[in-house]
């Protein structure tokens, strides 16, 4: 029995999708099994607190300090439970970090509860002033005043385009119709981004509260949450939250006996990136192929089933309760004049502190990448950061003093986007990266517009030839021309922005393109077709391993004699390099 604990200690295991993938379930099971032997220790779970690189982890408060017990393994649990209050002893075997120190440089509004509350407990949310904003609104703020408030806050859509949320709500409010709808866009299709997943998994009631307030403001009685099917845990937690909210009369025919009725339906996506585009999303909810259509009419006047509809991103809606509770002025005091508030970013790629962060707009990329992100996770320097996924661009390290706000990032050719930030290091080939994004666009284009469907295919073909050393300068010019035309002639932003990754890499990393075209070389070694494997005759001991493991028998040489690779047949699989015991094989 552990009698050393004066007060009870609560251990919270981070169980977002990321935590679970890192092994949090085993930690929780072990805790559950062992904790019976200890008095005064309680366990619970929470979701992702943003420190994904420290997962699996436990968050706890000991002697008034919030601690992260990080990178745990189940074997450490008995020791951990025994020595909880002895920080010195604990940190001898377990990585113990003070949370406040890790949060330096951040300002959390949207994420204020993530990783702190149990997302499946409505009470946890209520204790953090949950649904206070809804009560306030229903009791004494008119829909028009709510909209005025949101306008005054300066909140801009966090789904990518950055349009004023208040103005959008106003348009939907003024549209005349008996039936209106609100939709929460939880499709989060940008590869490399997971902000919305973390918010839905970590604080689902906050999104629901935002959506109800939005419904009240524009005069809608029905809301949809369109969530991608790849997020099963988010969907599960949202479902539970909706049931609990109904039971507490926070949702239903007569919300908190105010006379306002509102229901929420969850729609699961079916694996199409383009369905994140609002008109395609609406088509998908209606049960059609997810094809974008021409705007106007905008959804605010003609949306779901031709009725006025307001669509907002998860993070946009998650800001709403805070703005109502704390006031529009508190929000606009944060960030910059034109980009007020905070923004959540997901840091990934070759970065040490990969995870979720929330910063005030106007912080520099340098502060994010090196300050919060801790710099490169490899022994190579960070070369660039990719923002905004397939619609965004790459910003080179020389420009890391750029501030993160809508206007400053736009001037670089990249965008704030939905918030995906992927760092790449000197081992990443920028031509390959551009090719990667075009492959993505190619497979996700809905096929409606010729330029998007065929133009991106032609771009991809050129880039593929470049990565194989089969291209020329003429094609480079063609690539530029195609990029321009696709941007002009596509209907929706998927096509319009598809050339961005190519344009920005061309602008900042032209030398890499020229290397591929003129020298038929890829110095990062990523473009396999351009790699040449050779054997150093001095080092080779003639063990024959490489020859035996070559799938195309293109290595010759006899026992104890230097071996040789015949380039004509080589398929660059790299097997020889892997099996060589003396490191005699190298890439050129």
């Amino acid at each position: 029995m552990n009698s050393k604990l004066p007060q009870s200690v609560l251990l919270k295991v981070g169980m977002g999708t990321c935590g679970i993938a890192a092994g949090a379930r085993a930690i929780y099971d072990k805790l559950e099994e062992q904790v019976k032997n200890f008095q005064n220790i309680e366990i619970d779970y929470t979701s992702c607190n943003g420190f994904c690189h420290l997962e699996p982890l436990i968050e706890t408060i000991i002697k008034g300090k919030t601690l992260l017990l990080a990178n745990l393994s189940a074997e450490q649990i008995p020791f951990l439970l025994e020595n909880l209050t002895n920080k010195k002893l604990l940190s001898s075997k377990v990585l113990v970090i003070e949370k406040d120190k890790k949060l330096k440089g951040q300002n959390r509004i949207v994420l204020e509860n993530c990783g702190i509350i149990n997302p499946d407990k409505l009470n946890d949310y209520l204790e953090k002033d949950g649904y206070v904003a809804l009560k306030k609104v229903l009791n004494n703020i008119s829909p028009e005043e709510v909209i005025e408030n949101i306008k005054k806050s300066g909140l801009r859509g966090r789904g990518g385009a950055g349009f004023s949320t208040g103005i959008k709500w106003d348009l939907a409010r003024k549209a005349q119709s008996e039936q209106k709808y609100v939709i929460c866009n939880a499709d989060e299709g940008d590869p490399g981004a997971f902000m919305d997943r973390a918010v839905m998994e970590g604080d689902p009631h906050r999104v629901i509260e935002g959506l109800i307030i939005c419904g009240y403001a524009i005069g809608a009685s029905k809301g949809y949450i369109y969530c991608r099917a790849e997020y099963p845990l988010a969907i599960m937690r949202l479902r539970k939250a909706i049931i609990d909210a109904k039971e507490s009369n926070l949702l239903g025919e007569n919300v908190l006996n105010s006379g306002f009725g509102f229901e929420i339906i969850i729609k699961e996506g079916a694996g199409a990136f383009v369905c994140g585009e609002e008109t395609a999303l609406i088509a998908s909810v209606e049960g059609q192929r997810g094809m974008p259509r021409i705007k106007p009419p905008f959804p605010a006047t003609k949306g779901l089933w031709e009725k006025p509809t307001n669509i907002n991103n998860v993070e946009t809606l998650a800001n709403i309760p805070w703005i109502i509770r704390k006031g529009a002025d508190s929000f606009s005091a944060l960030g910059t004049e034109k980009s007020p508030g905070t923004k959540v970013f997901s840091l990934a790629g070759k970065i040490k502190n990969a995870g979720l962060i929330e910063i005030e707009m106007g912080v520099s990329l340098r502060d994010i990448i090196y300050g919060i992100g801790g710099g490169s996770s490899t022994n190579k320097e960070v070369k660039a950061v990719q923002l905004g996924g397939p619609s965004g661009g790459c910003i080179p390290a020389e420009m890391f003093d750029t501030l993160v706000d809508y206007e400053s990032l736009m001037s670089t050719g990249a965008i704030v986007g939905s918030g995906g930030m992927v760092a790449v290091d000197e081992d990443t080939c920028m031509v390959d990266l551009a090719k990667y994004f075009l492959q993505f666009i190619q497979s996700e284009s809905c096929g409606k517009c010729t330029f998007c469907r065929i133009g991106t295919k032609r771009m991809l073909e050129i880039l593929t030839r470049m990565t194989e050393g089969k291209s020329n300068m003429e094609e480079l010019n063609k690539l530029r021309a195609l990029a321009q035309n696709i941007g002009v002639a596509s209907l929706c932003a998927l096509g319009k922005t598809a050339p961005n990754p190519v344009m920005t890499t061309l602008r900042y990393f032209e030398s890499e393109y020229l290397e591929h075209i003129n020298e038929k070389k890829c110095s990062t070694g990523v473009c396999k077709a351009l790699v040449i494997y050779t054997i150093d005759e001095q080092k080779c001991i003639g063990c024959t391993k490489c020859a035996k493991n070559c799938p195309v028998d293109t290595i010759s040489g006899s026992l104890k004699k230097p071996h040789y690779i015949h380039q004509e047949k080589c398929i660059k699989c790299g097997n020889c390099e892997k099996v060589c015991p003396v490191g005699a094989v190298s890439k050129l």
Binding site: A21, P191, G192, G269, A270, G287, L347, K350, V424, E444
Partner: protein, 151 residues
């Protein structure tokens, strides 16, 4: 096929008969049977207001829907940006070596099907894969081999 797979009538009763129910109906069939057969689509159309060409159009538009059966375990390799720059392609090579299948293929013993996915939202643990509904992160070739062996 899951043990308590609902029949088409039950699925329609749950999802509705109108056009808007098309995607939820297909999702339910996909969930219970692992794929959607032509016969099932015909049956759905004969019992609802959904036209056959419409339903087929939807089934082929969304990548979630499979018109041929998958193996018992569905491996989905993330091809998202973060996973791409952290070596997702190497993982595909490992699976191809270990199981002898490429993307879109199923092993001869019907145990595994290999697919790609745009992003699993676990980018901070890249490279990541999903087997059935479980995500595995921070993978290396050895770790992946170990995971495959558990199946």
């Amino acid at each position: 096929m899951s043990d308590n797979a609902r029949n088409i009538d039950q699925i329609i009763a749950m999802c509705g008969r109108e056009e808007a129910a098309a995607i939820p109906i297909l999702q339910a069939i996909q969930h219970d049977y692992g794929f959607i057969s032509k016969e099932q689509m015909k049956e759905v159309c004969s019992k609802t207001d959904i036209k056959e060409n419409r339903l087929f159009g939807i089934a082929t538009f969304y990548s979630q829907f499979k018109l041929t059966p998958s193996g018992e375990n569905l491996i989905r390799i993330c091809k998202g940006t973060a996973c791409h720059v952290r070596g997702a392609d190497n993982l595909i090579d490992v699976i191809s070596e270990e199981l002898g299948i490429g993307i879109g293929e199923t092993t001869a013993d019907n145990k595994f099907t290999l697919e790609t996915v745009a992003c699993l939202g676990c980018c901070s643990l890249a490279p990541a894969i999903m087997i059935n509904n479980e995500v595995y992160g921070k993978l290396t070739a050895d770790k992946l081999r170990g995971i495959l062996n558990e199946f």
